[in-house]
């Protein structure tokens, strides 16, 4: 199934390229209003039509994809770093620290993720500028998504600490930070990469859920979540099928992320 994985990676690269080049390939800015053609159907000028405010849907889709595809990995990176610091330190130090960290991860994992997220989101101001709302949404995802990964990393760090290479390093006089930095962290890299790539589609989907509930990225900045909100005003499936383009792109992209991950990474 190598070709499936390669096709998925190729699709993701193509979507990433389209987002990076959004400034050149889109007919207008994401906030530009074509006031004479609101709610327009698909046409050569507006391939995906325009929304109720006359904004070009294709432009908004590409800019929204850029926001979601850039910031979901950023949030995943933040959560992976937190997981590496917390889980790695707990596994390396062991004892009471490991017990405390494991209890904290147990608590975090038993909290209903979306309840926790909207609670913390509500503590922060809701009426903020679009850029701040983007930062808040994805920073929250990153800060609250570390627990699962920390558990895996802690278990791996603990196993590593009892392995021959670490015992040999200890016997050679290496200890403390040097042991952690030179021998433990490099061997944790594959797990960290796997956790990072697993988190990306999870964060994309969570942002979409938050966006549809009005707690994600604020208007006029588009993201997949805010673009999907438009479906709420939909009355039938056949009326304007091009409105489903964001949903289609979201599903295909998340599927490609799953397909691009190796089996071993998914098991981790």
């Amino acid at each position: 199934m190598k070709w499936v994985r390669r096709s998925a990676i190729a699709f993701l690269l193509a979507v990433a390229a389209a987002c990076v080049l959004a400034d050149y390939v889109t007919p207008a800015d994401y906030a530009h209003q074509f006031r004479d053609v609101p709610d327009a159907a698909s046409s050569p000028q507006h391939l995906l039509g325009t929304d109720a405010l006359g904004r070009d849907r294709l432009s908004r889709l590409l800019y929204g994809t850029r926001v979601s595809l850039l910031l979901a990995p950023a949030a995943a990176l933040l959560s992976s770093v937190l997981a590496a610091l917390i889980g790695g330190a707990a596994g390396f130090v062991g004892g009471w620290m490991e017990t405390c960290v494991m209890a904290a991860t147990d608590l975090f994992l038993s909290l209903p993720w979306l309840f926790l997220l909207i609670t913390v989101r509500a503590f922060l101001p809701l009426n903020v500028s679009p850029i701040v709302s983007v930062a808040i949404t994805f920073a929250l995802l990153g800060c609250l998504g570390w627990a699962g990964a920390a558990r895996v990393i802690c278990a791996d760090a603990r196993t590593l600490c009892g392995s021959d290479i670490v015992l040999l390093a200890r016997a050679s006089g290496s200890s403390g930070f040097r042991l952690l930095w030179r021998h433990v962290v490099p061997n944790l890299k594959p797990v960290l990469y796997a956790q990072f790539w697993i988190s990306v589609p999870v964060f994309i989907l969570t942002e979409a859920n938050l966006g549809m509930l009005g707690l994600g990225v604020a208007e006029p900045l588009p993201s997949w979540g805010s673009l999907l909100r438009e479906l709420e005003s939909f009355s039938s499936f056949s009326a304007q099928p091009w409105q489903f383009a964001p949903l289609f792109l979201l599903i295909v992209t998340v599927s490609c992320f799953h397909l691009a991950l190796r089996k071993e990474e998914l098991c981790a």
């Binding site: 909290l111 309840f115 909207i118 859920n209 999907l228 479906l231 599903i251 799953h258």
Partner: protein, 286 residues
């Protein structure tokens, strides 16, 4: 008995820590202690002063903790700022609706996920496995909110969405577990000796996977509750998911913290029950 005591102590510790964290967040949130009643021009100066004094009683952080915990101990969860109703009454009205959605969703997700995982493991051609895996993978890529919206458009019962969110996770986990159990030497020996497929599954594969499957029930509760928020909001089901969303939009922090703690309590109870069941299972095997 010792295990049960341990779980109860753990639950209490989590609730006390959760209560303190929640109370701290509410206390430190911007706008705490400001009451819109103070702006009511119909109130006399004495009444406004009384409102101010009642807010000042919770002024310090320590004072607020004591006030919050004593209220909690008496079963008083406060009053919702946005809905102007006691939180306890709101929960009593809305919790059954969510429990109905979550219960139905869990029943659907578990029965479909486990049944398809068993079919996928037992099928000889691999076609059933492929179809079930594809279905689960597609469902895994749908945000719960979109699925709820599509159900509204299709005029289908929204509660089913919770089941569709739980299903792929149960299926993938159960399938992997059953595949691993099916490749164990004693299962291969049983097959080689001519035991029927159903018998092998019921007597040799499922009992091995049972403890880990039981452990998944706790996590599936958490998943189902999380899915209940977008489902109830978009399908207009008056449960605690919708209440949480309304509280978030109105920044009704006290209500939100109480809701999160309640759902955490239910999830922790489910996790503890699953842990106890796993323990009993392992003891039985030993």
């Amino acid at each position: 008995m010792r295990k049960l005591r341990k779980h109860v102590v753990r639950l209490l510790i989590v609730l006390v820590i959760g209560g303190f964290l929640g109370a701290t967040l509410v206390r430190l949130a911007p706008g705490f202690g400001v009451d819109e009643e103070e702006l009511d021009s119909r109130l006399s100066q004495e009444s406004i002063e009384a409102v101010r004094q009642s807010n000042a009683a919770q002024g310090s952080l320590a004072g607020y903790y004591v006030h919050y915990l004593s209220q909690l101990a008496h079963g008083d969860l406060g009053v919702s700022r946005t809905l102007h109703q006691p939180v306890r009454q709101l929960l009593a009205e809305r919790l059954p609706e969510t429990l109905k959605s979550v219960g139905l969703g869990l029943a659907l997700g578990w029965s479909a996920g486990l049944a398809l995982a068993m079919v996928a493991v037992m099928s000889r051609t691999g076609l059933a496995d492929l179809i079930a895996s594809l279905l689960a993978s597609v469902l895994l890529c749908f945000p719960a909110a979109v699925m709820a919206l599509l159900f509204v458009l299709a005029q289908a019962p929204g509660r089913l969405v919770v089941g569709l969110i739980v299903f792929p996770k149960i299926f993938h986990y159960a399938r992997n577990l059953l595949v691993r159990s099916a490749s164990l030497p004693h299962v291969l020996t049983a097959r080689a000796k001519g035991l029927g497929g159903i018998r092998v599954l019921l007597w040799h594969i499922l009992p091995i996977a049972a403890p880990q499957l039981l452990a998944l029930t706790g996590i599936s509760f958490s998943l189902a509750f999380a899915a209940a928020i977008p489902v109830e909001v978009l399908c207009d089901l008056p449960g605690i998911g919708q209440l949480a969303w309304e509280a978030a939009m109105g920044r009704d922090l006290e209500l939100l913290v109480n809701l999160t703690m309640l759902v955490t309590l239910v999830t922790l109870l489910a996790n503890s029950a699953a842990d106890m069941a796993v323990h009993r299972c392992e003891e039985g095997e030993a």
